[in-house]
Symmetry: C3
Subunit: 320 residues, 3 copies
């Protein structure tokens, strides 16, 4: 693998999931791969799970890790070409990316969307320029529109925990929030689940209030509904997540009551397991009774972030 920014960078998602679960069994089996190799983790936004799990994944593979919080330790980067840099930006992405590529064998990058201009965010201008100029393999630590390490960990978790004979019914369920959040996690989850559906691994449904439909680019083949209750019928996995509107870009729209998942809502499901990428706002996005109860997979899922990252880094190291 030469880059990991979306499901489209993966040749065989089934094999990648198997790799992750094999590494979970034998975390230190590939330590020779990372010897004298350095992973640079570049953050333009805060991170807890992603930073720690990716750092640990690299250490398990014998790599060195250098963490750079550009928003705090560095300075503002310019991304536009052709501008006279007499304002607040101190360095152009062309130089900054190229320089970081000089010191690292693989680079990880996190950069959130601004949620102001949809085209700007969905063009992934910053991410694509970083990839273009840094000249080494890049792994996304969450971009404006995708969070593929999270989605891979989610698929690993489903694969690992599903014991049924039939294909599990997986539901992505919109949830309330007080802030305008990116669509990166649900976009990414949707495109991974749609791919897994094509591969016959599961059936995929999305439920969201009117106005919160995701971009169709990420949801080919998904069953889409405005009724949470309808979506939950017979569900095996419920992936709870808030996002702001794609249509009225970045807006928090009004929505009907009843979108926060609680035990009562689980009644019509197949004793569904509940997932969330975290951080989660308790009793706003998701009820405490579920988070503290037997149906929650959220900590297990967070734990699998480690093996997802390790599987991706392993495949990248094998190509260096």
């Amino acid at each position: 693998m030469n880059q990991f920014t979306s499901v489209n960078d993966v040749q065989d998602i089934g094999q990648l999931v198997k790799d992750a679960l094999a590494l979970k069994e034998n975390p230190y089996s590939h330590q020779h791969l990372g010897k004298n190799k350095t992973l640079g983790l570049v953050f333009l936004n805060p991170s807890l799970r992603t930073r720690l799990s990716t750092q640990k994944a690299a250490l398990n593979l014998g790599m060195n890790v250098m963490v750079m919080n550009m928003d705090k330790e560095g300075w503002a980067l310019e991304t536009q070409d052709g501008v006279v840099m007499n304002g607040t930006t101190v360095e152009h992405i062309r130089e900054a990316a190229a320089v970081m590529g000089q010191y690292c064998d693989i680079l990880g990058l996190r950069s959130f969307p601004k949620l102001i201009n949809r085209d700007e965010d969905y063009n992934e201008d910053f991410f694509n320029k970083f990839i273009k100029y840094c000249n080494v393999p890049v792994v996304s630590l969450e971009s404006a529109t995708r969070h593929p390490l999270q989605s891979l960990a989610d698929l690993v978790t489903i694969k690992e925990t599903w014991g049924g004979a039939a294909r599990p019914k997986v539901v992505l369920a919109w949830a309330p929030h007080i802030k305008a959040l990116p669509q990166a996690v649900p976009n990414s989850f949707a495109e991974w689940m749609c791919k897994a559906q094509v591969d016959g691994m599961l059936d995929f449904t999305i439920a969201q209030p009117k106005g919160y439909e995701l971009s169709e680019d990420f949801t080919p083949g998904a069953t889409i509904t405005h009724s949470l209750d309808e979506a939950l019928k017979g569900a095996d996995y419920i992936y709870v997540k808030n996002w702001s509107s794609f249509k009225e870009y970045g807006k928090v729209l009004t929505y009907p009551e009843g979108w926060m998942l609680n035990n009562e809502k689980l009644v019509g499901t197949n004793n569904a397991k509940v997932m969330h990428c975290l951080p989660v706002r308790r009793d706003l996005e998701l009820s405490s009774e579920i988070l503290d109860g037997p149906n929650s997979l959220v900590i297990h899922e967070a734990g699998n972030r480690l093996w997802a990252a390790q599987a991706v880094l392993k495949q990248m190291l094998e190509k260096l």
Copy 2:
């Protein structure tokens, strides 16, 4: 050792001191213990000595270290149960601690008191919840009420430097400051010295102005006085430290002149060695003439932070 948050977590403080001094002689003798083990250091407040000494201690033991400045790299954590998280906190301690425990074999945690509500601080609510939910051994990097790695380093320093036949007289001496500081360091020093006194290692006296008495929970068996001069008579070690009032919680009370230690005050002592946990405000808490003179142990003492941390991590690794 499964956790290290106070002297009560230690079975035999004499043995732990011996371990620290043995590691000082042979720093790399136990590097196999930490192979493929990861220490996560989580800071909710700034740190210099504690961070560097604990990080170095873990490296000496062959561990990997991941540092997380939650106050800067992460986000605000909720600690109260049963609240709807529609305010400024982004993640609950239940999830945050559990997730960090997924990626680390041992966690270190620093969290200062707010000095507003005494019960809240002395309940150690944040620390206890972190320990409860993270599910791995925890070493305190200073909590609301204790700083045991500091106290252990202090005891190591006394043990290492005392050449007398009799038990040394150790005095904890309150000192002036312009800010309201926690009682964590003096509480912790007091409970370690009281334990060492029971074990026959030393005699322990505390001197502070009226109103600055520490909680009796930390001072069993200590000689307590309001007269600095009386306390200093025949002293072998003077541990200088400011703290805010426990009784009028978190307040800076008025106090009589003469509480800053200087060479004149050393006259009646047994040529006492002077200690301080640092950082120290020169000529406010402690005179420059002492800090720059032959009686000061403060740098030596800071150096011993490394061996104290290494002894604790070693005992924890042996139990993993």
Copy 3:
């Protein structure tokens, strides 16, 4: 080498350049040197290239690295002696430096000038006190008046890329900026080039507008001119850099047009290679056409920061 704060700390700059280029060929040839040795990198100001390249250099040598952003993770340091510390500074440089020296075998330090009081900055008071009190070898990561790791990388780059028979003509060319920048990079570059000129490695010219002359302490033997066009005639290397006035200390003075280098200005040169320490403000300091064109060495030069740092650390480790 016991410290590395200026060209004067180097016995033989030609040998150091050779060491750097040899390490570039065999990066991991000296990994035994750094075993169980720890490099502490202390930043009082932001850093991208310096931090990552020095960290990677140490890792290549088998060292452990601890990074401390004092401006964000620590607290304000007092540098004046004899003051009662009842203000905003929390710890004195005497203690802070001594303590960091307890945990590290080598310390790197970055501390920018304030650009207010020339004597204060040029006395290097902070740097010198840090060196005095930390008691371990110190490598400058840029001080108030010098940036020697940058200058060494610059000399390495010239040596590596120069294929001519005669000595190359190297020009330090002042460039416009909107902010008042330190003289550290040009001072340092000048003193390294002047030394290299004495050693017969190159010819050195400085061009700057009136009022921007550097301190003569750094420019012995350099050809100095106020005409950029005159300086560029026959130039083989042009080192572009802005700095604020030394004479009217820290001021941004008015200057005639024509000081930004572009392709037109390259016409009279010997197809000169263009260098810059980065970060660079495009089309303010230096034209995009040059930065994106075949004459630019800036990324190559940034890459050489790694080998410069590794050569210095190697010589320091050999003396430990």
